[in-house]
Point group: C2
Chain length 314, copies 2
């Protein structure tokens, strides 16, 4: 079986794969634009290089392992037609992402940006309006693996958690769950509105101007899911009108965020360059999932971890 | 009974006290330099105005309620001689302080200062070396009410917690506790060293150059207790020599921190102007404790909350 890696991993990780799977031939190439793609049974990728042109060449391809959670840029229909198995690393982002979300929230509540700012001027000044997380309320849009981890940590801080998903079905670490339709009615109670939604037909443009208008003026909005959950003009307007206190954005409609975007300069907006999922443990965890699935593949077992439903897109 | 408040509280809080305790006369003065100090049975204070001159005048004084945790500036011996009851608000700082500690730690691990910095330049740059809290180790110097709350939250993030106190006695939310003598042997394992120690004869100068030399180069040191747990020159040297990665300091030997202190300009040091205990809920919580104790005082009960041991100094 031929396995093509299109991103770099460390030498000791390559050696471990070769040793653990003697029946497989590994090609460590850092690109999909290579001859080996034409014969590969498996492609291990960050996802960005999977397109129709590649699929046409990759005649032997049976399984794509995507070392990322979002697959919205991939040609899902073509993959479905070819009956190609797609697995991802859903869940491995949950630790760094939840830590980043909590770090941003705690920073804003505990006046840490102001603390950094006064250090520049050597000004011993303590009249910040620091507040607490405890006894506040958070709505988590997309209470899956990542949203659940955020909910678990928020609960440890004494925050009441409201999960919001399509069906309103119960979710781990949510004190309550509501449907997308019930969101607007709940928003006036939220101190934090946190989206970790993937990009799907149902989530595109989910948040509208009306949603921001009913939020508290003290509310903090965080988008760590996908940029197209809203029209960015809507959020820029809400921030300019101070309809909410602050936004922290890790994702955008266009990435890199264009230099002329107003998000860069709004004083009540934090631009995070899509880094919240990063940590030194990423590839290690992705390879753990890959090896688990590869073993199942070779044993012709079927219960793969993190199979992507190509119809739903996640 | 005459009760003098030497700091400001809100009108509705004054009204509630007057209504709840008709047997008492309240003087809301915002200072101890007043005639009423001479007749007061109880002084409610932040502590800074309690000195020998005041004690000499305050002949009726039986109880000092300090709305702060540290009493190290007060004339403890004189208070003991006079057999004056001293109570404080130990524990009410725990929520805002623990949230501040976690905010600073998460910020540093998740590259939040770098994120703020690139926004100034509109540079979409993601090559930060973000790491995770999960699976790290923290030593908490002073695992009492505040240290325990920090420990509880760190454990929620998957951090192994080591409490360090004089006796090594077990403490809540600590996976392990060690004595001050065992500290140096344990420091090489710590990713975070967090002091919330009060200033007492045993804690003054507890941390020496030797301690910083054995810490990891990636270690983060946080002092949210009292500045005199170390000689500041020792820490400045350790930071200059990059013996540790970063320090976050909320307390200093001299406060306000003098403008010529090198802490202000060291790039691996965060100066927090003694604000970590602040939150809008502070006075509300202090008054809850005061009213509980006042009721006991009037009923001649003895089990006051948060009595200060004047010999130990906390």
């Amino acid at each position: 079986m031929d396995i093509l890696f299109t991103f770099n991993i460390e030498e000791h990780q390559k050696a471990a794969l070769v040793q653990n799977f003697p029946a497989c031939t590994f090609y460590f190439k850092r690109t999909a634009s290579c001859e080996e793609a034409n014969i590969a049974d498996v492609i291990v990728t960050y996802g960005g290089n999977i397109n129709r042109e590649l699929l046409a060449r990759a005649e032997q391809l049976k399984w794509i392992m995507v070392a990322s959670a979002g697959i919205d840029k991939m040609p899902l229909e073509a993959l479905e037609e070819r009956n190609i198995l797609v697995t991802n690393v859903r869940g491995i982002h949950k630790t760094p992402m939840a830590e980043s979300v909590l770090g941003h929230i705690l920073g804003l509540k505990r006046s840490i940006p102001e603390i950094y700012a006064i250090q520049e001027t050597k000004e011993w000044k303590g009249d910040f309006h620091s507040t607490e997380l405890r006894d506040s309320t958070a709505i988590i849009l997309g209470p899956g693996a990542i949203g659940g981890e955020i909910g678990r940590l928020l609960q440890a801080f004494g925050v009441y958690t409201v999960g919001c998903n399509r069906s309103g079905r119960k979710a781990d670490y949510m004190d309550e769950t509501i449907t997308f339709e019930q969101l607007k009615g709940k928003l006036p109670q939220a101190d934090f509105v946190i989206s970790v939604l993937p990009s799907t037909p149902e989530t595109k443009g989910l948040l509208t101007a009306e949603h921001f208008k009913v939020m508290k003026e003290s509310a903090i909005f965080l988008n760590f899911g996908r940029g197209d959950v809203l029209n960015e003009e809507v959020l820029i307007e809400a921030l300019k009108e101070k309809e909410i206190l602050h936004a922290v954005l890790d994702v955008f409609q266009t990435e890199p965020l264009p230099e002329n975007s107003e998000f860069w300069t709004l004083s009540n907006c934090t631009v995070s360059p899509h880094v919240s999922g990063k940590s030194g443990k990423y590839i290690e965890r992705a390879l753990d999932i890959f090896q688990e699935n590869l073993e199942k593949y070779l044993n012709k077992e079927k219960d793969y971890r993190n199979v992507v439903n190509l119809k739903q897109g996640y």
